[in-house]
Symmetry: C2
Subunit: 401 residues, 2 copies
């Protein structure tokens, strides 16, 4: 039985660059108009400018008395000025429009109320306690930049400036194809050899966090024809497609071959552990990623490759994770020639962070569940010694849907 057991080991950063490059003509995705109140976490695809000024008119900034400032000039404690309600001045509440001829507001606690009017004992300048039209945003002023992720407060600012709709990047629709004759749906009564599909659910929920729209298909058995049909169907309706798994070079790993038949395999295999047997392909101008089946390998490829291409589809850059320095608690020998991503638990000991590596097997999803961060053993190092200071990327940051 003949099988090709060797993958290439493309530098994984170079592989990612090649993958991005292949989609420069088609990404980011086009814009769509949506209503402002429903625009949370969407990405603007042009500068957003105020349609009208906010606030739209001059208004009282305090509860008090609207006056003509000129009538108060010369008022002192010993020489107070009397103003008639209705004729010379008017009660006004915070936010109410300041109407001609009034041009200033005196706080209610700074006047003496007398029958039919007020007594003012100090001059006020024009504009005193007035909130001027356009004080927040002038008409035409830029509210939000392009490629900006819309936050709750941005929604308020847009609405206040008279906007009802906003032009945002279409959400990338990401087809997720779980494959493997041994893979079964959660809830199936397990027979010997059955493996519950977990990777496609992790992928779908990461895609949600990254601003895409996951579209998980049924599980595809290990048959070339079925796989080919499923990929073609997904490519037709998706912006990005993932095939999980069958990306390696085993007897039943059809993914690389099928991707090559349907389109172009750009990369098969990178110098990354876990995650080495990734396939990066292009079919009909759509990016297609073949993921390895081990859950940690799949997670690493999702994090480093899929997240990047989804961000590119959205016209944004993946935010960098915060890093910390930590003292490595045990020695970590590693293979030369491969970048290894190690999951670590952090512990604060009298102000110094200590990093304890979790189990390194690609099958140990628990190592991701329990990790505080990720560290990389670079390919040009045979590992780290116990006590060495290492850089840890924090995983804990909450990402958004």
């Amino acid at each position: 039985m003949k099988r090709s057991i060797y993958l290439k080991k493309t530098d994984w950063r170079e592989a990612r660059r090649l993958f991005r490059q292949a989609f420069e003509p088609v990404f980011p995705l086009p814009a769509e108009q949506i209503t402002v109140p429903e625009s949370l976490h969407r990405i603007t695809c042009e500068e957003v400018s105020a349609r009208i000024a906010s606030p739209p008119f001059d208004a009282a900034a305090m509860d008090g008395i609207a006056v003509q400032a000129a009538l108060t000039y010369g008022a002192t404690q010993s020489n107070p000025v009397h103003l008639k309600i209705g004729a010379d001045c008017a009660y006004i509440d915070t936010g109410a429009p300041l109407e001609q001829p009034f041009d200033a507001v005196i706080k209610i606690e700074d006047v003496e109320e007398v029958p039919g009017g007020i007594t003012v004992t100090g001059a006020v300048p024009p504009g005193k306690d007035v909130r001027f039209a356009g004080e927040d945003f002038a008409a035409g002023e830029v509210i939000l930049p392009e490629n900006h992720r819309i936050r709750p407060v941005d929604i308020g600012a847009m609405l206040g400036c008279g906007m009802l709709a906003v032009s945002v990047r279409k959400r990338p629709r990401v087809g997720i194809i779980p494959t493997g004759s041994e893979i079964v749906e959660p809830g199936t009564c397990l027979k010997a050899g059955d493996i519950i599909d977990t990777n496609s659910f992790i992928a779908a929920n990461l895609i949600r966090e990254w601003g895409g729209e996951p579209d998980r298909t049924a599980i595809v058995r290990n048959e070339k024809g079925l796989l080919s049909d499923a990929i073609s169907a997904a490519v037709a309706v998706s912006d990005v497609v993932m095939v999980i798994a069958g990306s390696s070079a085993g007897r039943e790993d059809f993914t690389p071959q099928v991707l090559g038949e349907l389109g172009t395999v750009l990369v098969h295999g990178v110098d990354l552990m876990p995650g080495k047997p990734v396939v990066l392909a292009r079919i009909e101008e759509k990016p297609v990623v073949g993921l390895p089946g081990y859950p940690v390998s799949a997670f690493v490829i999702l994090d480093l490759f899929v997240r990047d291409i989804v961000a590119m589809a959205l016209g944004i850059v993946v935010p960098e994770r915060r890093t910390v320095k930590a003292v490595l608690e045990v020695a970590l020998p590693s293979k030369l020639g491969m970048d290894e991503m190690v999951r670590v638990k952090l512990r604060n000991e009298q102000g110094t962070l200590h990093a304890m590596p979790l189990k390194r097997g690609a099958g140990i999803l628990k190592s991701v569940v329990q990790a505080d961060g990720l560290m990389c053993i670079p390919k040009d190092k045979e590992g780290f010694n116990a006590g060495q200071r290492v850089t840890v990327e924090l995983l804990g940051e909450v990402t958004a849907a």
Copy 2:
């Protein structure tokens, strides 16, 4: 015209403590069962343990040959052992179950394939390249702690351990009542004095980010009876209620009075700027917050009070924002006796962060839109001098839906 123009100035942290305390008997909210694939960002309300082991059986960790380790003992380069496919050994793919009597896997690249069998030139120990049942999670092992926000990888771990449903905290339903005769829906043709409602949309989207379910009502005109009816109706169907605005002590500020009639006002007024005229009340064991109408005041109260009570309903603690030290670019005089929250823009100058305060008016929503962070001028300080080092809370962290 008689009006009470003075609010008390309760220490705002004490006010928040009193508010929390009032709901200790009723929060956190009860649990509900939901399906695991739909549990993203929900909060566990008990420890989650594996129903079955993951993986559920011993399996090959590599593509190769399943063998009985004992048959390879003594094999060397010069004294190779021949094994017959079918009788002594079997081809096996990664993840496939390792069946009796096999107890080890030899990688395909480490054997010589000969017609009908393989030649082994080195002994392998039992368990070599085997992924044992329960290697990731043993049956009964704790997967997730209580009060944990479920991430994509957690969903994978739960499914892999045979779980279909998970017990999570009910999402707090938060009634949001926009009030004010001058307040109009976005899209209304504006007449003089009309103000577009923005606060309730900001509130609704923050509630989404914080894990609650916003329920915005129609705008309520400034009439006591209407306001009272709207609040009663919202309290009946919500876990938390917000009234925006009318929380101050102006002629038409009915919120404190109505809240007092329907329930108990716990706090009216705190030593916080912007945000001073907040009302914290309890009606039928539900927390009700009366927010000020200025957008920055409303934002500060949402951030410091509403977020806290929503977190309490969920059984979690609001995550602390990351802080940085920065050099203040201009002097910031401030009122004694009030904590002032100032929005600042940060600038990195040769590795040193500089903080430039944005406009301080409570009506300037732009100061929140453009802010990188918040700094507090404490009530016991008359402000800061230019060049002083200050602590800035970073706003940029992405929170999740």
